[in-house]
């Protein structure tokens, strides 16, 4: 066990390379910058195209030659927030995303700890079952789920969507958190138990705080998956609980796609989650490093 796993705030930065290789290193590092640069162009150009399109009129989007100079319009954004009331979709996505992430963590973290640490019978089988539950195609789940939720009078409620998204987020939480807990040196918890903390105390006061970065990383992934989910959000939502992906699809009609409107909606859908990603990026990398995500 290396020391950095003990201290979550101390993720090793890559240290300087040996001086003897300085010349070669420069060429190598420049090469790395070039590779990253090219990759960034590949990643960003499609997104920037959408950003530019969101300020274009329909006829400016479909031109024979690329137009860099065009008269920008805010009409597409007016459609998104005026005609469609996109704030409502954003709010719904936020409620469902946070709800399902919170629920998944709440249920998944203790479960993962039990699998990692407690002498539970059939631990391996439980782990397999969790992975298996992540493999079920959404098409197989969505219609039966609709019927079950209908019996429980849940269809159209936020809880229906939160539970549905928990179906794919809970396995992720359990799978990831289990490896984080396994990575902790057991001596810490044992020491706490010798001091009379009890099993639960060892989990609650020792293991849980130490895995906070891992939990943050897991939470970010859960929110992203929930934010982008479409099929459950469509079938199980009511008119008042539709989420962002359903809202974006509203611009794809039967005989026409509103390219300007859908581009603006796409940008509006991307921005909140991108900001979250920027803010959480530190946690994401640190959390995943810390756990050393293992199978």
């Amino acid at each position: 066990m290396t020391s950095h796993t003990l201290n979550a705030h101390d993720v090793p930065e890559v240290s300087a390379r040996p001086v003897t290789q300085k010349k070669r290193r420069d060429a190598w590092v420049i090469g790395c910058y070039v590779v990253i640069g090219v990759f960034l162009v590949w990643v960003l150009v499609p997104v920037l195209t959408v950003l530019v399109n969101s300020f274009k009129t329909p006829s400016a989007i479909f031109t024979s030659t690329p137009q860099l100079a065009f008269a920008p319009t805010l009409a597409n954004y007016a459609k998104v927030f005026g005609g469609l009331d996109f704030t409502h979709f954003l709010l719904n996505s936020l409620i469902v995303g946070l709800g399902s992430t919170a629920l998944s963590l709440f249920l998944g973290v203790p479960f993962a700890y039990s699998l990692a640490r407690l002498p539970v019978p059939g631990r391996e089988w439980w782990a397999r079952l969790i992975l298996f539950s992540r493999m079920v195609p959404a098409v197989a789940l969505v219609v039966p789920m609709f019927v079950i939720f209908q019996q429980l009078h849940l269809t159209g409620s936020y809880l229906a969507l939160i539970l549905a998204h928990t179906s794919f987020n809970l396995p992720i939480v359990i799978w990831m958190m289990r490896s984080f807990f396994e990575e902790l040196p057991p001596e810490l918890e044992e020491a706490a138990m010798v001091d009379g903390a009890g099993r639960f105390g060892a989990f609650w006061r020792i293991a849980l705080p130490l895995t906070t970065p891992g939990m943050a990383a897991t939470a970010v992934l859960c929110i992203i998956f929930s934010w982008n989910e479409f099929l459950f959000a469509l079938v199980l939502s009511g008119q008042d609980t539709q989420t962002v992906p359903v809202g974006v699809s509203s611009f794809i009609g039967s005989v026409s796609i509103d390219w300007g409107g859908s581009s603006a909606a796409a940008i509006v859908a991307i921005i909140p989650i991108f900001i979250l990603g920027l803010g959480a990026q530190r946690f994401l990398v640190r959390g995943l490093t810390f756990g050393g995500v293992k199978g």
Binding site: F146, L159, G238, Q239, I252, S254
Partner: protein, 448 residues
């Protein structure tokens, strides 16, 4: 000591269960709409052409797809209806691709929708399942309709599509078909006359292909239903159709199918790159941006050609129907059905909107905004509107000999097989003869 730890974990679990329960409770508080005091379904409209009846406080939900030019028109109509009758009609829109599933599931659970906008391909399925309410008595009731308005006010062949086992369930609108658009300026410059038959279309497309960067012809090639619509129109123009009147037997004639497929595969040679992935709107956009001399497409999509916001070729288009024999054009009748959910607690109010929206005055607005035609006879006599629809003569000519868009539950799977066969014939991975045989095989699933 151990016990307290243990209690704590149970307390946590209990807290979760409680909060879940609380969420569940809040989800159950939605109220059901019902007829309120002061409602009079027989009240005459407040102004001429307005909706019948007053329904103060009644809440209705209308299910339709999201997007497209019809949205704004329907939103406005719902608003006007609400302010005139005192009710409140809300539009519930979901993405078009998922409209059927959403409606089917919602109606099966007995909730939500009062008015449903139903596509032919699932009308039969819904009627059979008992999801739709009969409207015969409303349609025959003089107190619920304007003077002289009755079933006879609709185009009989279109209205008949809303019938299931002899009962009328729906009122139609969205009348449209497949026609040919051609660039009058390019034709004049090349000294060509307006095409009269599909062989003219092919010959002209060949001559105009890749002149000045335009393709000869463009049409939908993606398997979204439009390929089968075009193909069905080509069959209709030859007096043939996929199946018999009962929808139980394959009647596809090999010669007619081969002719239609020959047209499709030949036309694809003069089509722009990517034609096999073009839906109706993609084909129309290509034409509107001046990248094709001829376009074969549905009329609602063709409205993009005349829309200055989307087209660089406004006013440069002429329209003719599809025909093999110039004296006998034909086309598939495309339409939609407005129906009332059998679960609705506001059927009177729902019918009021159906009548109001499918009648000539509202349909005239829709026609100007979105290029679909009304299903009432008087719509076609309204010169103020018809004079503004450049493709109307071609549509009328095509629909004088028409087959309605298939409305069999087995159709979507067959349609997919047909469209795949057309694509494979165009790609050359299948001969035309093989493709026709495959269509026949797919049609054998009829009535099963």
């Amino acid at each position: 000591m151990f016990a307290t730890q243990h209690k704590r974990s149970w307390a946590v679990i209990a807290a979760v269960a409680l909060s879940a329960g609380a969420l569940m409770l809040t989800s159950c508080t939605s109220t059901a709409g019902g007829s309120a005091a002061g409602a009079d379904p027989n009240a005459a409209p407040k102004s001429a052409g307005g909706p019948y009846g007053t329904f103060p406080g009644e809440k209705l939900t209308l299910s339709r797809w999201a997007g497209d030019p019809w949205t704004s028109g329907q939103t406005q109509a719902a608003k006007d209806w609400s302010s005139s009758t005192g009710g409140k009609l809300t539009l519930a829109a979901v993405p078009y691709e998922n409209l059927h599933d959403k409606q089917a599931l919602s109606l099966s659970s007995g909730s939500d929708y009062d008015i449903v906008y139903v596509h032919p391909s699932w009308f039969g399925e819904f009627a059979k399942a008992g999801y739709l309410a009969p409207i015969d008595k409303y349609l025959a009731d003089p107190k619920r309709n304007p003077t002289g308005f009755s079933a006879a006010s609709y185009l009989p062949n279109v209205l008949a599509q809303g019938k299931y086992n002899g009962t009328q369930y729906c009122l139609p609108d969205f009348v449209s078909t497949i026609v040919v658009g051609y660039r009058t300026d390019l034709f004049a410059a090349a000294g060509l006359a307006a095409p009269k038959t599909v062989s003219d279309v092919l010959a002209d497309a060949a001559k105009l292909n890749s002149k000045g960067g335009t393709a000869g012809i463009v049409m939908p090639g993606k398997a979204t239903g439009a390929v089968a619509d075009v193909f069905g129109s080509l069959l209709t123009a030859q007096g043939n159709w996929w199946y018999n009147a009962a929808g139980t037997k394959n009647t596809l004639d090999s010669t007619a199918a081969t002719n239609a497929l020959d047209f499709y595969t030949s036309a694809a040679k003069y089509a722009p790159t990517g034609v096999l992935n073009m839906a109706v709107d993609d084909a129309a956009t290509v034409a509107a941006q001046g990248k094709a001399a001829i376009v074969v497409d549905t009329t609602p999509s063709l409205s993009a050609l005349e829309d200055p916001a989307k087209s660089s070729t406004v006013g440069k288009w002429g329209y003719v129907p599809l025909a093999f024999d110039a004296s006998k054009p034909g086309g598939e009748l495309i339409y939609w059905n407005w129906c009332i959910s059998s679960n609705s607690k506001s059927k009177d109010a729902a019918y009021s909107f159906l009548q109001y929206y499918t009648d000539t005055a509202q349909q005239a607005k829709v026609a100007l905004a979105a290029a679909t035609l009304g299903a009432t006879k008087s719509f076609y006599e309204d010169k103020a509107v018809t004079s503004k629809l450049p493709f109307l003569p071609a549509v009328n000519a095509a629909l004088s000999n028409s087959n309605p868009q298939p409305s069999l539950a087995s159709w979507p799977a067959i349609q997919n097989a047909i469209e795949t066969s057309v694509q494979q014939a165009i790609q050359g991975s299948k001969t035309n003869a093989q493709a026709v045989t495959d269509m026949q095989t797919a049609l054998a699933a009829l009535g099963k």
